[in-house]
């Protein structure tokens, strides 16, 4: 059972600001969806390997050689003297 408190915790983790109205509405909807998902929980999956990739290939390796790209900084929107700025991060 997913409670609204659970959902608000998850929203915090996902950095999603939800209004009270939103989180109460979503709790019901999501609870319904999650209970539909429960159907796979009862399968006998002992001995089944999790499938993490759609194809089984081996990781190709790239030669360690610099390839300059054109200056990208113009594609970053929120800048001060070439730095990206955000409100103060407290540490």
């Amino acid at each position: 059972m997913l409670t609204q408190i659970d959902l608000e915790k998850v929203a915090k983790l996902a950095k999603l600001g939800l209004t009270l109205e939103e989180s109460s509405r979503l709790t019901g909807e999501i609870e319904k969806i999650i209970s539909y998902f429960q159907q796979i929980k009862h399968l006998n999956l002992y001995d089944v390997t999790p499938m993490t990739h759609a194809v089984s290939i081996v990781l190709p390796l790239r030669y360690d050689e610099i390839r300059p790209t054109k200056c990208l900084v113009e594609y970053l929107s929120y800048k001060k003297f070439n730095y990206i700025f955000v409100p103060a991060v407290l540490e």
Binding site: P60, R62, R67, T69, Y83
Partner: protein, 470 residues
């Protein structure tokens, strides 16, 4: 230190790998300089980009794993570690979680084995500059390759921790895996520490320490934390599991602010990177190219050349210094003489100029020449040192300097006899003492003659002649 408790320390060390490009893209791995210039769509987390794996980073990680006696995994995998922070452009870090590249190794320090639990590859984040009102972010460091080396909690004191770090750094430098400059954050250490009453088996609650920028601060911070924890335990208090931030200036460790919710990294297998498969042959190839490591060289130096522990340790401090020694003794067959010169004269110059042996202007061949002159008794030790100083200053060879200044040892006995006569006359009282049985004063006479002859004669020769006269 409170002796009621046993100190349990585990270390996580991040080592920046010496590659040309970043771990997952072909941007230069060098950072610093203008902010946000060494970046591309991949390392700055633009929509639609995918990571590609740097072969050299994998090779360096294998090298490190082999040198730390690890088992290299023939199959290892990557995972995403999620957290929001402005200098982490994708919202997750690509790292290794369930299947690291290397496991179960050890490092030996002073005859004690410290177990290495795992070594894994991961990408670095960017850098932030914080002010009270805003933070400025530079992505140049994003995606720079790191290995994380994790020990078992087997370290028992701050001294041991520092010793382990020194050894680890030395190994990484020998391997040319990293420059390991702590002030450039090539080598970052995050210790975790707990105390338990002596005799207790169960571990206590541990804290983690961050922001340690030198071996000194590692030591200080660990001492601080041992003190803090034992005071709490002494008064029956409870240690809170938390990450503490070391304040270098005030030498205190404080709770990190701004961490509201407990961490939940939501690791899951990185779908963009298939399994990294390393075959035995590749691993063996890398194994065969590993340089001799400090402890291997130590054994050789001690056994073959009969050098003292202390001198060997200084010689082996860096691979370059050790290589310099080996090159020199190839041309000057007196390891002890070479070793002594390296750890005193050469080291003094390096320290004085704050340079490394690579930047030293006297090449092994020339140092060997100088020392060979000394060994052939063509010059005295004093003269050799003078010549050495000249070589450092002028870049000239020993032979050139000797020829210019006429510093070769004189075979002219008449000069010697004249000087001895003068000295004996001038120091009649000393001669009298000698004759009365106080033979040790002879060294004073030898010294006086040496001075008169400007070091052109060996002390032994002078001594022989004086004895003849007396």
């Amino acid at each position: 230190m409170n002796s009621k408790y046993e100190v349990i320390i585990g270390l996580e060390v991040h080592v920046q790998l010496k590659t040309r490009t970043k771990l997952f893209c072909a941007c230069p791995a060098e950072f610093g300089g203008q902010p946000n210039t060494n970046i591309c769509p991949i390392c700055s987390g633009l929509p639609g980009v995918l990571p590609t794996m740097n072969q050299h980073a994998v090779d360096l990680a294998i090298k490190a794993g082999l040198a730390l006696n690890c088992q290299i995994s023939e199959k290892s995998s990557f995972a995403r570690k999620h957290y929001f922070y402005p200098d982490l452009p994708k919202g997750y870090q690509i790292t290794q979680y369930k299947e690291p590249l290397a496991i179960n190794g050890f490092v030996e320090i002073d005859g004690l084995k410290i177990s290495i639990r795992r070594i894994h590859l991961e990408e670095d984040s960017g850098k932030s500059i914080h002010s009270p009102t805003e933070s400025l972010i530079d992505f140049n460091r994003c995606g720079v390759p790191l290995i994380e080396i994790v020990t078992e909690p087997e370290i028992r004191s701050p001294d041991q921790a520092v010793k382990y770090l020194q050894t680890l750094r030395q190994i990484m430098r020998y391997l040319d895996v990293s420059d390991c400059e702590m002030e450039k954050a090539h080598f970052r250490c995050e210790p975790n520490i707990s105390l338990r009453p002596i005799g207790q088996k169960q571990f206590g609650v541990r804290t983690e320490l961050k922001n340690l920028n030198s071996l000194n601060s590692v030591h200080q911070a660990l001492e601080f934390e041992i003190n803090r924890q034992s005071k709490i335990l002494d008064t029956g208090g409870v240690i809170v599991q938390e990450t503490l931030f070391w304040d270098e200036q005030n030498r205190v460790a404080g709770t990190m602010r701004g961490k509201e919710e407990s961490e939940d990294y939501r690791y899951f297998p990185e779908p963009d990177l298939p399994v990294l498969v390393l075959n035995r042959e590749n691993i063996d190839n890398i194994k065969n190219t590993l340089p001799l490591l400090p402890w291997q060289r130590k054994k050789i130096l001690k056994e073959k050349y009969n050098l003292s522990e202390n001198i060997v340790n200084i010689i082996l401090e860096t691979k370059e210094f050790a290589d310099y020694f080996v090159e020199t003794i190839k041309l000057c067959d007196d390891a002890k003489l070479v070793a002594n010169w390296l750890v005193t004269e050469v080291k003094a110059v390096l320290n004085d100029k704050s340079i490394s042996i690579n930047e030293f202007n006297i090449i092994p061949k020339e140092l060997a020449n100088l020392l060979n002159l000394l060994r052939a008794q063509k010059i005295t030790g004093t003269v050799a040192k003078e010549i050495f100083t000249d070589m450092v200053l002028t870049n000239k060879t020993a032979t050139e300097i000797v020829n210019e200044k006429g510093l070769f040892l004189s075979n002219d006995d008449s000069l010697l006899i004249k000087s001895i006569d003068e000295v004996l006359t001038e120091n009649a009282d000393i001669v009298a003492k000698y004759k009365s049985g106080k033979t040790s004063v002879i060294s004073f006479l030898i010294g006086a003659v040496l001075q008169k002859t400007h070091g052109k004669l060996t002390p032994q020769k002078i001594k022989d002649k004086i004895l003849e006269k007396l």
